[in-house]
Symmetry: C2
Subunit: 237 residues, 2 copies
């Protein structure tokens, strides 16, 4: 009969623990991720988790590496610009699926294998396209800063009309609007009324404007050095 000695319902593994942690953080918010809740989720006591992860910090590192693993790594075939664009959009989508991830990156100083592989691939594409080492560093810095910064802001904006985030963003918006009507913040009010609170508005659309702006700038910077960016260093074939 009931063989539910909890050895059943499937064995634990580091991967299963990490994935359950990601799901839990996505569903109930990052603060709900406690060792006991996570154990409960897996039908196991909290301390059993420590057979597969070193401590909670290690758990977090693994979770973030999972998120990085979800970012698409396009081939360099259609050119660096397309590759960077696809990667950026995929990264934004992944970070929007796991909003807790971006804010925790600050404290992580030990990137996981997926993270490192990701960075290496991107740099490879840029270098192969003729970017100098310095320019590749610039490009990487500006692109990633933009991606992470956008992902960081997106969920915190009271402007979010709340299609995805749902919840209480309407209440929050109204609370802030109450301060607006005092006339203290005329430009914020204008922005809200004339633009952001319009029916079809979705903040996510802002992303591609800035992305293309940055890609334009990089393109100009890369062609500014040598006329054709593609055969600079890597053409000795």
């Amino acid at each position: 009969m009931g063989d539910t000695t909890a050895t059943r319902r499937g064995r634990l593994s580091r991967d299963r623990v990490l994935r359950a942690a990601v799901d839990l953080a996505d569903r109930d918010g990052f603060d709900s991720l406690t060792m006991r809740r996570l154990g409960e989720e897996l039908g196991v006591e909290a301390m059993s988790l420590y057979n597969h992860i070193a401590n909670k910090s290690d758990l977090l590192d693994g979770m973030i590496d999972i998120v990085f693993g979800e970012i698409e790594l396009p081939a360099k075939d259609p050119g660096w610009r397309t590759a960077m664009r696809r990667r950026a959009i995929s990264a934004r989508a992944a970070l929007s699926r796991h909003p807790w991830a971006v804010g925790r990156m600050e404290s992580r100083t030990t990137p996981g294998p997926a993270t490192l592989a990701h960075h290496d691939k991107v740099l490879g594409i840029l270098r192969a396209a003729g970017f100098s080492v310095a320019l590749a560093a610039h490009a990487y810095s500006v692109l990633d800063s933009y991606i992470y910064g956008f992902a960081l802001q997106a969920p915190s904006l009271p402007f979010d009309t709340g299609r995805d985030t749902g919840r209480d963003s309407v209440a929050v918006t109204q609370a802030i609007m109450a301060r607006f009507t005092s006339g203290q913040y005329p430009h914020l009010t204008e922005m809200a009324v004339e633009h952001v609170l319009q029916p079809g508005y979705d903040y996510a659309n802002e992303f591609e404007f800035g992305l293309d702006l940055i890609l334009d700038g990089l393109e100009k910077a890369s062609t500014g050095l040598s006329r054709s960016p593609r055969n600079r260093q890597h053409r000795s074939g």
Copy 2:
């Protein structure tokens, strides 16, 4: 004699509490900021703090508003571009002084007065310079995303040569270098050896490259609509 009934050494106030919290987070890291440690810092028991702040979340909101208050709000006199540039550099400096702040913004949904005033002023400068409402929103989004994203990445990069952060960044760098030497990440290795680990390198310098790239793009976008960006909507004088 000793009249140190702890009423002495100065009365508490919300502002004193907030400022001590910021200092403590700066000095010992955000995780060291507990109510008891903060009370200790002020010569007071933990529970006394609750006479001036509602709870720890309120404390955090206040702390972040302090950081925002440190960002310089330049006048619009020398033109929007100079104003935006100064603001961005000042914001980056403030966030680098308080590295914990940027990662906590995601969870905050109730911006403080300094934060709102800041946003309103910036939007005002852009609108007065002739930016349409939509373009001002774009500009704000891309600039702030970049600023926050940069601040988010800066302390986590193992590339940091550790002038400011000091501590164990050298050890971390070496640990990662050990993986590099395995040849798994050739482009990361190249980047590190040829560029980032060079003597004079400072990641903070990357900031202005991306900033000017974005400002160039915005300038082009704003002049692309009407020849002269300044008299578009606000000239009904």
